[in-house]
Symmetry: D4
Subunit: 218 residues, 8 copies
């Protein structure tokens, strides 16, 4: 099991992570970590390991690209002194190129995306026990879709960079691809990005598997 009693565990990223989390960080009961996948992970850990205490913090900010996240890295990541850090970022780097194709200033090209990830690693790796990346995904089963294609290529960058810097990486796309064999993406979320409660459970499941959870829920 990756987590140890009294670990400080930070999740950061964009709206997929944020999900209405409290500001400032740490405020509130279980709503402090928002109502997305971080809350679900928190719920599972509380229920499965009630005798241990994992201090989960969520500093996702809706709409963030890697460019935005990097700008608040010191405040919203390093200052929180995480033992374990999960980073899930890149959706908006890609999405803005498709939903606002003319607003060039909001687009983060793949080269800059790679550099931003590398800078995050450089500033952090030695200061935490474990840094983990989650790939961005697109809840679109058609791999020929232009945005799906680009999301796949950005996800590939995450995997390459993680390999290069010897960091673990949780690939979220396959979990969605499996689910979309049975249900249409419209049942998860109309925009095919925000996971909703079902998609958040799919993510949480992947994270708990990654953590090596050794107790069954039922």
């Amino acid at each position: 099991m990756l987590l140890r009693d009294r670990d400080r565990v930070v999740f950061t990223g964009d709206s997929v992570t944020d999900a209405g989390r409290a500001r400032p960080v740490g405020q509130g009961l279980w709503d402090g970590v928002g109502n997305g996948f971080v809350r679900q992970v928190d719920n599972f850990l509380n229920v499965l390991y009630p005798e241990q205490k994992f201090y989960l913090m969520n500093t996702g900010v809706s709409g963030n690209t890697t460019r935005d996240l990097l700008a608040r890295w010191q405040t919203d990541v390093l200052n929180l002194k995480p033992d374990i850090l999960f980073v899930c970022i890149g959706f908006n780097d890609v999405w803005r190129q498709f939903d606002t194709p003319c607003v060039f200033d909001l687009h983060v090209p793949i080269e800059e995306y790679r550099e931003n990830l590398i800078r995050m690693i450089g500033e952090t790796k030695d200061k935490v026990r474990q840094m983990v990346f989650l790939t961005p995904y697109y809840m679109e089963p058609n791999k020929e879709d232009a945005m799906r294609k680009m999301m796949d290529s950005y996800g590939a960058v995450v995997k390459e960079v993680c390999k290069e810097y010897d960091l673990p990486c949780v690939d979220l796309q396959p979990a969605f691809d499996d689910y979309l064999q049975y249900r249409h993406s419209a049942s998860l979320m109309w925009d095919r990005v925000h996971p909703g409660p079902i998609g958040s459970l799919l993510i949480a499941r992947e994270l708990l598997k990654f953590m090596g959870v050794d107790r069954p829920l039922f």
Copy 2:
């Protein structure tokens, strides 16, 4: 040109038509007809034919299926005594089968869809100068997508029924398919159904062509 001076022109359907239109019908200046494609048609007609007066009314209701629309047909269509009637319905008949696949009570199967259309025609055809159907569309370029496929089949029903009852039908899907060759559907609307202002302009353009507008905008 289909419309004549002082014609009463009713548009009815679901949220694609509704688009925030006033209640009761006819309230307000230009906002009475909502801010969707009906408003755009209204704007164009005012600007191009300022010397004529076309009384456009919008009775779309968000979330409606053919089943819902039929239940209010007398009040929201016949009582308004239209000269020309545009009906754009079917999105939700299909959509609910994909976004809430377990909520069976909201699904309208294709046979019932066809019957509902035929009942609308039966109650109306002789009372208006022209009744026109618009096909539902899905802003999804992938024709293998399950919901696109079903939407195409429902659209086919509209075209068949119109043919059978000798009514004109405006097929909206091709206009979107053309546009989506250049832009991703995310730039129109994340849910691929509500047209947004650009999609509404695509619809309005089709309607004005159908009406036989004989003056250029620029």
Copy 3:
């Protein structure tokens, strides 16, 4: 596994069940069933059995006692034609005797409670494939607490009545008692009644075990 493909599954009760569910019943995507234990059950079923469709409905109403629930039984239970029915009621029958001890009109004594349950069964048992009761609980580990004591006695009535009428009963109190060995009830909810997301997960886990779920989550 208790549920079968295309089953209609109704959950009814008070605020523990309600949890912000949509009105009228069935509205909305995943938020139609509220954000309490019914949503969590729904999420798990969707994720574990995506190839099947279970139509979950939630007609809990905050503040209800058995007296209130009985008054809307036809509309909110029988009319929905459930295959499976879960009833979780009794918290307020007890609670009002402690939080508003002088407001006698709101108190439901244990004899009336028993009769109300029996009337629910009488009107329903033959019309559904399976009717299931959940006991009310109190997130108070001290069994000498006066309200815990009374809640236990009401819970005992549920169990007795179920036995008498040969219905299954899910006893929720033990799940909370286990958890409260490790954590203080203040971490679930300050009022020790509303379960919050963690308590809802404890309930959902009991329900899934009861249903005989045969696939692991992780």
Copy 4:
């Protein structure tokens, strides 16, 4: 056609331009540019030239006079590095002299108006490929009306200054005068200044003609 692929196109001015545009600039999908004439221009360009990308930005601020606009020129115009710049300002310079005739501090006399325009040109002309002025207008067909008269004289200043500095100028008053031959100004907007959707279409039509759009809408 004036615009080239990937051009940055800034529109600035007062409430006629603003029309509820997003703050900060560039936020949002199509609502980022407000719901006035800039949105309509944007819609037309997207529909007519989907294979090209024009980055339209709107920095109008309701209530602004030339005095106010000049004070934010660096931030809201130059910093955005426009290739093409449209300036539509002067309504409030005139209007305040008529609707609040005693609030002298808000009046911008015609000499100062001219100087303000010239200062805008001086700070900008060499930094953009094309700077364009739109004249203010008054949706009042009676040329003897005192405010119409003054608006005409301010509009004349725009035209003179543009001629002097060799800039193109789009005269908006004639488009409204034409329309008001058929319809009363009350049908556009009760205040005879804010164009509403129909007036915005009249403006958008003039701008598209000015740009040399070479494709018909229908």
Copy 5:
């Protein structure tokens, strides 16, 4: 002086009269009669004749035409048992023909306007000590303006009908015409119909003169 101690004085009409008056009628202190000309008349009477009590009631309803007012005549006029009745109606009968020229259902042609007035008189004249009409006006000094022209003709109908039925009539248009020689209508109200506080004072002044007020304010 027209009013006598303890007279019941009813003002009815549209938004010019309504001006935010309380519902139901008679609620509130001085805000019961709205904040328009009725309030100003009330203020003047209180200050000038504090030893007498005039019971002023306001039943104006925004947006009303004569057609709407007639429909509520029993409830909102006769039931209040006025000694004196002031009726100010007709703005919307005319206005809708200009601001929503295509919404035919809202237009009240001049023949119907005349009939409506006559029906009001017929149902009322014998039941009140004095019934008084106020002409509708348009705060537009240009007598060639199409809406001003029509408003003048409707005002002429009021005067004719009053003459025919031997009722006094307060012509409000001249008071505005005088004022507009000095100030632009934009300083009263942008829509040239709602009088605002200054226009309300102009109306109140005419009414007080009509009543034969015999004490100076200063």
Copy 6:
């Protein structure tokens, strides 16, 4: 007549003056000066002298004592460069001693009140054409009432100081005393301080008389 064409006329004080005036000063049409006595003065001047322009400004701030007003004197009085200045202050200096008798920090004793007035005069007298004080009043006819007594003594200070510095002073108490011979103070305002519309008219009447208005209203 005290005022001359194009005069800048500032009114300052507390909530009696403020009455919902716009912030920043000068914003809005007739609502810029609030809805109290300043608006009524403004209305009368507009109606009586439409050919002249008096620039009325209102910088009253609800709750202010002389201590508070002095602290913002530069910003809210001198910076506005008044030709004529009306100051109406002192209500709260007295009132707080009666409604919150234990909150000593809010009480302004009569000696400090006198000094504050003298400091206002010293900073201003030479910079304006005319500075005028209005006495505070209490809408309480019983001169033995403790708060009425103290208000009278504070009013006496205003009159003494004005005499000493050769400034005009408008005594408002008599106007209210006259009115209260006929009506109860409850009909003006329950708190016997805020004048409401009728009391504001009483004040406005005194001010217009003071100004030497030479035209009758009716």
Copy 7:
């Protein structure tokens, strides 16, 4: 002590009683009875007699006169089956004659007031163990004030009627007169009617004395 364990105790009247009480009656914890004197009485009884249960209900309605209260007597008094009934009514019967002296329809003359009280007694006396009246009061120490005078005369009616029908009556005016020897009425409430928390304590103290409370608070 007047109250017995498990007594149903109803308080009814106007806003002095209402004080924001819950609707429908009996809802809520301690806020069900509002935040006025009824809540204070409830607090004292709970603290002093925690071993007994008194069911206090509040059906005051803001703005009520005896005329209004009589109209809802069956629903809001008799249906609640009180053992003990407290009625505090008459403020508005008097107040409307002073704050809205011209709105005759809202005035309840003293003869009607007496009759209304007698009718309340007639419908109730035999159905409750004890009916008690509280006199209306006016927080105005000047007995020559016109409204105080009239309130005194209405209070005298209450006392006379109670004597005649052999009912106890709690005279509230003396408690306020005592307090106002030391503090100005402005410190209780600006309108001299609503008691505020301090005045509510004065009332509650009188009621507890009347009830014969036999335990000291401190």
Copy 8:
């Protein structure tokens, strides 16, 4: 009696003290001190000692621990120059360890708690006539409850420190323990911490006894 005429009496702490008090301190009538126990103390003192004036101030801030209170000690305590100071703090120091057991950063261990109290005393003792501590309490009658146990130990620290520094201490826990022999804590407040109006009365009673109030309420 501890308090003397014109004493400045400051209450500070967390939400138990705050209870919706005004900001900035001293604003408002009786609502300036919130609606909790400070208001009740204020009410009693006003009613019992109307001839004296005690200036009560409330600077409680919801959610504060000793750590937070210490950080604003200069501003919110010393600057107010209290004669008498009441400090009621520690609830949140304990509570966060139970309701958010994993959010370590919010926990204040007992050693730090002691030090914080000592620092408060050191900065204050010589500057006030009397500094008084109130112990935190928990409305939980079960002394074996983990949070009750810890609260008792923190309360013991308050008592020890007060003894050491020769300060009086009001122990609030016994008053609640007495009450909870008769009523369940749910009738005070569901969270067992915020006292609600009944619990506030229990606290106020202790404080008035402590002050040596020498007049009975009834």
